[in-house]
Symmetry: C2
Subunit: 268 residues, 2 copies
């Protein structure tokens, strides 16, 4: 079975438009490649009520995984873990393993200084009861993992390198295990010379003929000669890898033929 994943991006910088949400698209592309399906991405502010509310909403939709990014650092407005705790009626407690992770991080990072575990630093080791910390191999704040009803929650940092590292080390394994056997097969085409509205009926025709394949057209403006440029993406998520590859192959041949009949130029 294809497992479902929701992403919750937490951070005022995303809502101010200062930061493009590359974490969400990177995680989504990894989840897709691992055979999972991202069903929703929500971005909310660093606000305790807002965070706990959106976590409750997400859990009601019962995704297999909920991945949050951002809001687990040392500053006053890092409140994602408090939000998780409030949504699930849990308390926050200083976790011994998380403290050890922080100690090791600061010793490695500043070998010639004694970095005391001040309040802002201990905050990063303060996680919901019944959750476990996840080693952050490239930064200070540990990730957090816990189970809530039908959903496994992972809380990752907002710093992209840290979110990616924890995802690769830990989250990806959990998703892969849950989506075992599901493969994602895809193929891209570049099409020139027909507008999307001419291509639309052919896309529908091919999808009706080759069941399971999904075709998305992405208009990419016009070329120097005024011809419309479109990228076509064919994909399928399936537990039958050979069949999936064969369907995508056949659908690709079919759409290619139809587009050439329309007078389009198709690559590759």
């Amino acid at each position: 079975m294809q497992c479902t994943v929701e992403i919750l991006s937490i951070g005022n910088e995303l809502l101010l438009g200062n930061t493009v949400n590359t974490n969400a698209s990177w995680i989504a592309s990894r989840v897709t490649a691992l055979g999972g399906k991202v069903t929703r991405i929500t971005t909310v502010a660093d606000n305790l009520n807002g965070i706990s509310q959106t976590i409750r909403e997400a859990l009601r939709r019962k995704p297999d995984f909920l991945i949050t990014t951002g809001g687990i650092g040392p500053t006053f407005d890092d409140m994602s873990l408090k939000g998780v705790a409030r949504a699930l009626h849990l308390r926050i407690r200083v976790d011994k393993n998380a403290v050890e992770m922080l100690r090791a991080h600061y010793a490695r990072r500043f070998p010639n200084q004694r970095i005391p575990l001040t309040k802002p630093r201990l905050k990063m080791a303060s996680i919901p009861t019944s959750s476990t910390p996840i080693l952050n191999p490239v930064g200070s704040a540990p990730g957090v993992r816990l189970i809530a009803h039908a959903t496994e929650i992972f809380c990752l940092p907002g710093v992209p390198s840290e979110a990616k590292a924890i995802f690769q080390d830990t989250v990806s394994k959990a998703i892969k295990a849950r989506s075992k056997g599901t493969v994602f097969v895809e193929k891209w085409f570049r099409v020139r010379g027909v507008p999307e509205s001419s291509l639309a009926p052919e896309v529908s025709g091919v999808m009706r003929r080759w069941r399971g394949v999904y075709i998305k057209s992405h208009p990419r403006g016009i070329d120097m000669n005024g011809r419309p440029k479109i990228e076509l993406h064919l994909s399928i998520a399936s537990e039958k890898p050979r069949e999936a590859r064969s369907i995508v192959h056949s659908a690709a041949k079919d759409i290619r033929k139809r587009l050439i009949v329309l007078g389009a130029q198709v690559k590759p």
Copy 2:
């Protein structure tokens, strides 16, 4: 009063991770600059139930504006307008003005061909009852504007150049009119040599002293000498421009002084 804006990004490509949601961050940065406040960004698939459900959820939160992007083109999976109609119990009808806009678009775009208004093309002129089409100056599908309870809804295309053009022409004016008098004042600093956890108490201290200013720290890795790099963003949205600028100025001076005491290097 600062008006509130929700963004609903519609498109499987965003959930597959094929496309980074630059539309949402671009719109958010424009809304912020116009004095508005983006309160939530939601990304959902090209799925009729999902779209109408998220629109209903958004309207329940009563934002002043709801801006959707994507899903208003000619292909079978463009169903944002159907989603709006279903959420609001409206019907879809072919709009005469929208048809004229399409005719004019194709005549301008393909001056030497007669482009018939086929079903996929007419689909782009099929909009909810009580909504009005908005001229798309750079593409085919018109935008759509309608009022639902306390919220003004704008449906924009997913193609970034088209979304931006309609936003600039039309949406920005509506937001500016509603956020009249609210200014957004901001200032960036680059800080080197202290970890975020050392800076955290100073950020809180400055925010307590200079009421209304919001300070966000963005860790940006380490430099060649192993020193932490952080970007600090000070901002305030206010109806009193002079006071706002003065608070940001004072808070900036204050945080700068504190960071230098900590041994940090601060630019500019």
